[in-house]
Symmetry: C2
Subunit: 470 residues, 2 copies
């Protein structure tokens, strides 16, 4: 029933009197809210389906909080800490994050900062009581609070500290202020500091244990998959681009899936993930001290490649046809470049995903470089562009030039991936006969058909790439 | 004195005995630390000099904390709140952020969430005591804690809620757990909730007042300047690019300053800033409800342009000379496109910075479009490329093609800026005679010299752009 139905119904049953008007005014509101609730429920369902770990995470937070609130329910535990047990609850809420890396980072930061700041605050409290006297004590404490808060706040601007210890610096200020200030009223300042430290340690450890023991979300694995997935997305685009640009149908590849666009703005996400992944202990194939920062290099090279691909993408669907004379000359090397660099990217992504050192991408890169050379050799043939007009020539030349750039980028990506594989001691994979993915079966057919034509589609396979004869 | 000097000194004075060895082992440590301290001090000085507001911010945090800790020192205030006064200290540490928008967002989130969660927790406490009895009460409370924590945690995954209310949802969980759980031990649960709410309100308000009243940092202004600055950086690059690419000296423009690169990855920064700017009240020329989200559109179009410019940038310093025959044909329209689109971007940036609706960029865009047309008209002249070889031709054609793309991007940026100016009701500026910036004085000279030559450098000024006769 829509709100319009409601209004109709009200019109018929309540008439136009003041009561009817009030009902009409009231009724559509819950109706609209109901629609909103339904919409929110649909969105929630989608969020959960997209990543089941979100639902698991929510239950984990609920569990950790219920566990830690046991301190209140059981008298022996409560008697030990009293109201201070709430610090444990507070810590769980604040420290429990989606990934293990983030939870560990926050938990360790919080515990260490509380320890250090607590010690400093106890020291400051002693100095103030010794030197200050009744009048001077609050002035001295206020002075120290001002100085410590201002200098620690300034330290948070240091990029190196901000990346890993921002939360710790915040908690340092917090604990220092709480302990030193509350020391003015409570004589047992050491007791305050001790209770705060123990409850925070209990809260942090509960969070970390629940986070790691129940379906852990390793941000390192997510980062690894993100970087590999980004390369794969570029590879898929490149494989399809040549066919799409020269308008060759039946290759089974589609560019409707332009997932590479997310690569363009992945910089800050990758940086955050690297900072969090560093906190994680060894898991799966990743040891503690895995060279996470090398992923930034791979990611940065991938992004450089994505910028070129973004430029290439504008030449699709421009409505400008490639002139027939130019097409016959540059189509073969261009399509070779696209398929080979696309395959190279996909091989690199697959090797990275499997955590192996593989040289299978190298042959594809060699083939794409050979195609670049054959494109450049065309330069010896003067007069290719003679009969074409510039309006049509410029875009084709730009595409050719960008493709050459893409090959250079792919080479740099391969270098970055090899460096990562070497530093991370990935196991070496013996080069093996390439398995064609199921996707390219139709492509096989297209090639078989076209090999007999003069169009000159790329040779298939990795080892049989042949420099085009010109 | 380096640590090597130290070792040398120790070698000569202490000999090779065990004492000498210990001293040698100990001395370089403070020496190295001293070096690190000096380095950190230099970095701190640089951070402060880069943005003085950082130092001011640090003092503001110190001041706010000192102010709020008065609650502890003055007995009348302390008697009202007791130990709960520490919530005010805690709130200041957590809520006080660099910008007004961030502080207001966190403060309002924290106060609202505490109010709502406190009310809910008091309700839950009553239900549990009424229905649960001695045994059932903790079970009921634990059940409610689990359900509320899990569902609010899941709500934090909704992108719309995450953008503006993430902190509020966190504090909602926190307050609900604290009040409902501590209600099990304390009978005065309403008192707990009330004290928590008042102290948090005091802390938040102190932070907000100090943040706004002492040298406020408006993130809206920062966002405004960032978006305008990004356009200006692109403009500076474009103005210089034509001369650099065709290797024309003495234009007074340098490309060593490649500040446009930061535009490539500015997406997430802009999104964060827009979310924070929405919290800010009216300030300067910005009213509350200023269309901040329109800046995202301008930023996104600017980024699209930056991707093209990134592609253009790779054609500088490739070592490939533009063939003389092609150069003579395309140099004039290309340089026209560069200077005119660069000027258009700079005019747009200047108008945005001054918050005026200006049409002065439109004439530059018209000129750059005229230059594009004259470049396209060259297509009627067959055989331009006849004598050139492809290796040299491709890059020039790619540059020409990218320049055409840049003009399209600049037009879209202008549209986005005009839309922003119209929605934000910027005041209209009468088109006036253009003032050349000081930078282009040398450029004037270059043009005066070159006007008599056959090279055909761009005509200067905005109104006298002439479609090149071909």
């Amino acid at each position: 029933m829509t709100s319009a139905d409601f209004v109709d119904m009200e019109n018929s049953s309540c008439g136009g009197g003041p009561f009817g008007r009030v009902v009409r005014w009231l009724k559509p509101v819950p109706e609209r809210s109901w629609g909103k609730v339904l919409e929110a429920a649909r969105e929630a369902k989608k969020l959960g389906e997209d990543d089941l770990r979100r639902i698991v995470h929510s239950f984990k937070v609920g569990l950790a909080l219920t566990l830690v609130s046991l301190f209140y329910y059981y008298r022996p535990l409560y008697d030990g800490f009293g109201d201070d047990a709430m610090w444990a609850v507070l810590t769980v809420v604040v420290v429990f994050e989606f990934s293990v890396g983030a939870t560990l980072g926050k938990g360790i930061n919080r515990m260490l900062a509380t320890l250090l700041a607590g010690a400093l605050a106890v020291g400051v409290h002693h100095i103030s009581t010794l030197w200050g006297g009744e009048v001077g004590e609050p002035i001295l404490i206020a002075f120290f609070v001002f100085v410590v808060a201002a200098s620690v706040t300034f330290m948070r601007f240091f990029p190196a500290l901000k990346a890993r210890y921002d939360y710790g610096l915040l908690i340092f200020t917090l604990t220092f202020c709480l302990v030193s200030v509350s020391g003015y009223r409570e004589t047992q300042v050491l007791d305050v500091a001790h209770k705060r430290l123990s409850t925070i340690a209990i809260g942090s450890c509960t969070s970390i244990m629940v986070c790691i023991c129940i379906c852990p979300v390793w941000i390192g694995v997510d980062l690894h998959n993100l970087v590999a997935g980004n390369m794969e997305n570029l590879g898929v685009f490149m494989e399809g681009f040549g066919f799409e640009y020269f308008d060759i149908k039946g290759n089974g590849l589609s560019l409707s899936n332009q997932q590479y666009k997310s690569v363009l703005s992945s910089k800050s996400l990758e940086e955050t993930m690297v900072n969090l992944a560093r906190w994680e202990p060894g898991h799966g194939g990743f040891k503690f001290g895995h060279p996470w920062e090398k992923y930034l290099n791979v990611g940065s090279q991938t992004r450089q490649c994505a910028y070129k691909i973004e430029a290439l993408n504008t030449y699709l669907n421009t409505g400008i046809q490639v002139p027939a004379e130019i097409r016959s000359e540059i189509q073969e090397p261009c399509i070779n470049i696209c398929t080979e660099s696309g395959k190279a990217l996909k091989e690199l992504a697959a090797a990275l995903k499997k955590m192996t050192r593989s040289s299978s991408a190298d042959s594809h890169i060699a083939c794409s470089k050979a195609a670049v050379e054959s494109l450049k050799l065309l330069s010896l043939k003067r007069g290719i562009w003679k009969d074409a007009d510039l309006l049509e020539t410029i875009p084709s030349a730009a595409v050719a030039s960008l493709l050459i750039e893409v090959v250079a980028c792919v080479e740099k990506i391969a270098e970055a991936v090899h460096e990562l594989a070497s530093v991370a001691h990935f196991k070496t994979e013996q080069p093996q006969l390439l398995q064609e993915p199921a996707l390219s079966e139709e492509y096989h057919v297209a090639i078989t058909i076209d090999r007999n034509s003069t169009e000159g589609l790329p040779k298939n396979g990795s080892s049989d790439c042949i420099t085009t004869n010109v």
